[in-house]
Symmetry: D2
Subunit: 289 residues, 4 copies
Amino acid sequence: MRRIDNFKSIIDRYEVVFFDAFGVIKNYSGLVPGIEKTFAYLESENKEYYIVTNDASRGPSQLAESYHRMGLTAITENRIVSSGMLTKEYLDLKVQDGIVAYLGTKNSAHYIERSGLEVLSMSEVNESNMDKVSALIFLDDEGFDWCEDLNKTVNLLRRKTIPAIVANTDRAYPLSASNVSIAIGGIAAMVESVVGKQFIRFGKPDSQMFMFAYDLIREYRQISKREIVMVGDTLNTDILGGNKFGLDTVLVLSGNTLARDVETRVTATGIMPTYICESAVVSLDELAF
Amino acid sequence: MRRIDNFKSIIDRYEVVFFDAFGVIKNYSGLVPGIEKTFAYLESENKEYYIVTNDASRGPSQLAESYHRMGLTAITENRIVSSGMLTKEYLDLKVQDGIVAYLGTKNSAHYIERSGLEVLSMSEVNESNMDKVSALIFLDDEGFDWCEDLNKTVNLLRRKTIPAIVANTDRAYPLSASNVSIAIGGIAAMVESVVGKQFIRFGKPDSQMFMFAYDLIREYRQISKREIVMVGDTLNTDILGGNKFGLDTVLVLSGNTLARDVETRVTATGIMPTYICESAVVSLDELAF
Amino acid sequence: MRRIDNFKSIIDRYEVVFFDAFGVIKNYSGLVPGIEKTFAYLESENKEYYIVTNDASRGPSQLAESYHRMGLTAITENRIVSSGMLTKEYLDLKVQDGIVAYLGTKNSAHYIERSGLEVLSMSEVNESNMDKVSALIFLDDEGFDWCEDLNKTVNLLRRKTIPAIVANTDRAYPLSASNVSIAIGGIAAMVESVVGKQFIRFGKPDSQMFMFAYDLIREYRQISKREIVMVGDTLNTDILGGNKFGLDTVLVLSGNTLARDVETRVTATGIMPTYICESAVVSLDELAF
Amino acid sequence: MRRIDNFKSIIDRYEVVFFDAFGVIKNYSGLVPGIEKTFAYLESENKEYYIVTNDASRGPSQLAESYHRMGLTAITENRIVSSGMLTKEYLDLKVQDGIVAYLGTKNSAHYIERSGLEVLSMSEVNESNMDKVSALIFLDDEGFDWCEDLNKTVNLLRRKTIPAIVANTDRAYPLSASNVSIAIGGIAAMVESVVGKQFIRFGKPDSQMFMFAYDLIREYRQISKREIVMVGDTLNTDILGGNKFGLDTVLVLSGNTLARDVETRVTATGIMPTYICESAVVSLDELAF
């Protein structure tokens, strides 16, 4: 575990960089200042990069658009790997027909629709269509009535043996410097404990996220895990998951892990990044040389 | 572990009977048919009895009234020991002043009010009064907006170090023969896991419930634990808790535990009642003799 | 939560003091220096006190002797409440006959023997006597072969539905300034997770420990919970348990909780002592006045 | 979920078959009777197959030899994917030098040795070499003194921040029709809970196991997840993991899941195999046609 002042010097050692989104590229008030220089540098060096993010609230094209609106046009749809995309892959492979009920906004469900599958908000599930529900997905904490629709979900899962998929395992997400919101992963864990059944979860630290990104690269080039580095702000998702998958990892201090706590938290959790770096921003000075 | 057909023969061996409420005396459609005969018999024999129930939605007088409305007038306020009463005792002993914020109906908070303490629904907690909040109580799953008020609760507990008390640890409760509702204990467990702090929990199987009832008896008479039997329908609350407190226990099959599952569930959990009995109803035939 | 320099001033507010043992009165190298003055002061003031300790390795008379050998003669057998004594009470009330198998030293099992019950080390349980085993107790981490006897225990509990009692829930205990040892509570948790059955646990923070001590006092005098203070070095056993039982609590910094961590750990856990004090030692200066 | 009498008809729908080992191909008394016909059929049809097994007690060549000794010569070293192999990959990618301490037999550590890394049994770790320990691996429940070496492990991990890798997450394994043994995964979970750090775990249901096998195939041919079926006897490892990875799954009733329990367990866990089949044996009758 080494402290490195210079993010560029880390990038220079790898062929491909995986970035977590929240706390690394953006935060609750917009882009991390200066992060566009990092992506400019990556482009200039012809380095590959992917955003590997626990997010199922939108599809990859909408996620890319959200970066564009903030002024980061480098991040295109094909650069994004989200836990929502794993959920879509699961449905494609494992759910042939019927209705996929979901908890989330209409928007969050949009990109998992496909011919042969009807998607339906839990708020619209009722006695007349319940028989056709063949899977349930936890997508987003918005877009439904927590009390009414979670109770309906509990009773649906007690009555029917169908797969329940948690498309984002995070328990909370930041709203501002001081406030968080309960995330769909936290809600799903409550439903799971009430129902007593085993749900299927997608999202870091689970290695399936990293594998999905790894496979995207291998479609067009050869790559070893040694040539990829994972950059994240959270020890128990980004760093634990990256390490376990066999990647080198960079903990940046621009998000969940504060500079003053980093030693304590690494020691307490036993989760060790390969490098610790202030942020994922490549400084102008570095670029000058 | 013995199967006994005759609930009266069990009662006859003890001085005091503790009853769980739901699944033993009442269910979602009203009183367990015939249960009034059990209480008539207890009265005729001058046996003591207490209702020991995980319930914080109402105070003991309102709980007693609810039995009266169903036609069971034997159960008076002083016969009831609820997890809500332990919460009240905690506040009396440990919280001197300030505002006690609560999640639940106004009714659920009514009986914990006392001079020196203001109780305030989480929906009314805001920046202007948050500084005075000295404790938080989880009382009932109704009476608040799950999404808005649970997020507010999470952020209150992240900001302030105050005791958080779960007045009913049950994760779900039955609404009908086929449906359940998420209970405040399930909701509190989600908030606890998001916040990462340790809450204080009251309710069976915790022994403090049994001790509270035991102390009520000892105020006016001497009693040994050997002379008390706990009657319940749920292995991991009523029976586990009763056993651990040192009481003999009766598992009745009129609620959560079905006759066809009882062997499997006792073996799987390792929780063994002293007796298994169809129900807590004393039959007319038995009374004839 | 108040920091108090002066342990005597805390004592002076209460009628009865409960002390944790390890980290408060003694540590791995002997008595906490000066602690005998605290007990001298308590005696001089005619204050009651009890040692409330998670320990099942010896009976109360042997625990008392161990204090005497260290030079603290004030602590007599009747001042000690241990999790082992709750286990003994459980057996007295709930196990009528048969063999009680145990994991621990012969010494640890000695004080739970009584007429009608045979106690037998798991190392001596075999096909010929297994049928008579009516309960299993986890007493101490020493006195048996971990590999052989824990595997035998797992298979005994898979074959027979009998109560399994954990007489000390601590997962580890300190051996020296830098080393710990896995405790019987940690071992029991492993066996429980492998077997999948629910064990019965005794020890702080569970309120039954405090209740046992509270009952001892009430045998000879009236006392309110307001008049008792619990002194301990560990937030999640001594302080959490004391608070929940309704007692005022003192966190001392002579054991598990270090002065430099105390703010962080109280905030992180949400477990708040009434007072924080350097140690449970009453200084000579204080006694002079 | 469909019950299929005829295992051959399942195989015929897929290009590649993944088999769990224990409870599918072999059990405590040797090979599952008739299983060699299944492998003969696979060979005759030129179908690929892999053994995907939670086992870190031996390397793949020794695992293959053990099948040969039982008379199943079809299973060669390159057909085996074990959780131990993932551990080896982790060390190759993430641990450059130093000593890798292990819990297990000398044999279990043999195949992870490589130039640049010294492997050393925890029983041989001492003050003189502890500084050089750069990783710790849980390999097997045999080959060390549980009491002495687990306590040493706890203190090593408290003192040093190094990765701790659990090479087999199973908590128990069967020894005979009625007896099990605590497995290294159960032991590791105890150490993890005592130490309070986060370990790295390899083994089903984690998707990294399936990915490893999937990658082996893709080295020489193109394959879709739709063309692979996972055959296992355990819902919460083989079937949950296979489903999540996107494979079709077959639950066989020759091991952990009994025919009489299968409905109950699928409903209770919510883990649904694509097919349920008596065993993985292709019958002679089937082959005749």
